[in-house]
């Protein structure tokens, strides 16, 4: 970890938390990393705002999702310090949300079915 070099063991305190924390506490990065990420998030947000002026279609949707994932990735990795956590925590937090992909897929299939059923029903009534 290139940035963890300033990992100082909180010398001013002799408390238990410092001993337990040891790893997470005191990981310091230069402020400019945050300013760069901030700037990057601004650029991505501006770009995603301007997708609103594109025609609706695959290209626009791909752009929206790509910018969204980039922003989310930088927020989690840098702002929330996930990039510097141990793998055990990364796995415990990042793997479970993958189950949501199953929910999304199921609801998309079911939603499509409901839509077609409704269309059929409304055509029948008229």
């Amino acid at each position: 970890m290139a940035h963890a070099s300033a990992n100082q063991p909180a010398s001013s305190t002799g408390h238990a938390p410092a001993a337990v924390a040891g790893h997470g506490e005191g990981v310091q990065h230069p402020i400019r990393i945050y300013l760069w990420i901030w700037l990057l998030l601004f650029v991505f947000s501006t770009a995603s705002y301007f997708t609103d002026f594109l025609d609706k279609g695959i290209f626009r949707w791909a752009l929206i999702v790509m910018l969204m994932l980039l922003k989310a990735g930088f927020i989690v990795a840098i702002f929330m310090h996930m990039a510097w956590e141990r793998l055990a925590l990364k796995l415990a937090i990042l793997i479970p949300p993958l189950a949501l992909l199953v929910l999304i897929a199921l609801m998309a299939i079911e939603g499509d079915y409901t839509f077609v059923t409704r269309l059929a029903a409304f055509v029948h009534v008229q």
Partner: protein, 224 residues
């Protein structure tokens, strides 16, 4: 401590040692681990809302109101699409930036800068909630949007809008209170006496998560 040998391992071996060894699995302060787990559960809540939104938008046979028209603001006489939402997005991102720097100054034990940046974060959060209140008022009073219907198209638009942005706004409001309390404690030297500034980082995690959720709401609700 047995902690030492296990944390020396990196990668997958380190992870399996962390989970399997006779010690606590996550080598972070418990408050941080619990905040992460809370945020994981919150991820599921917001994902269920957004999936529900996807479902009603899939199934409705009526036209979905065009968000870039609904949320346009008039500047002079020309409607600028999504203007207020764009400003809200920038405000929230800026507040995330100030929060990240507050955490950093916290670990340098710079009391004044940490507290000031946290108060700035809370103030930006408050202005976000204010703009949201303005947006809700505009939609309810002037456009006649209700949870059960609206003049623009599919009635589900209103219920989804109020539920998702309302729940997010509630998170922002709670975050403003949370950050203000922690910032006040920073200022009074509470964490210097406690010997650790990890509470600032834990509060920061919550705040960044609120920003993270907005990224998804912005993409799926406002831009889609």
């Amino acid at each position: 401590m047995s902690d030492q040998s296990a944390t020396a391992l990196e990668g997958l071996q380190g992870a399996s040692a962390d989970f399997a060894a006779d010690k606590q699995s996550f080598s972070v302060p418990w408050g941080k681990a619990m905040m992460w787990i809370f945020l994981l559960s919150d991820t599921f809540i917001f994902s269920c809302f957004l999936t529900g939104y996807m479902h009603v938008r899939y199934t409705t046979t009526e036209k979905w109101p065009n968000p870039s028209e609904v949320f346009a603001l008039d500047i002079g006489n020309t409607p600028v699409p999504l203007l207020l939402i764009a400003i809200m997005t920038m405000v929230l991102i800026t507040s995330s930036g100030t929060m990240a720097m507050a955490v950093n100054f916290g670990y340098r034990r710079d009391r004044t800068k940490t507290a000031l940046l946290m108060f700035a974060t809370a103030a930006l959060g408050l202005s976000f909630v204010g703009m949201q209140a303005f947006e809700w008022t505009k939609l309810i009073v002037h456009e006649g949007v209700r949870p059960w219907g609206n003049p623009m198209g599919a009635p589900q638009f209103g219920s989804v809008f109020f539920m998702i942005t309302g729940f997010h706004g509630l998170h922002v409001s709670c975050g403003v209170i949370y950050l203000s309390i922690v910032a006040k404690r920073v200022l009074t030297g509470f964490y210097d006496r406690k010997g650790t500034y990890e509470t600032v980082e834990v509060a920061g995690l919550y705040w960044h998560f609120v920003d993270l959720v907005w990224v998804f709401i912005f993409a799926f609700f406002y831009l889609w």
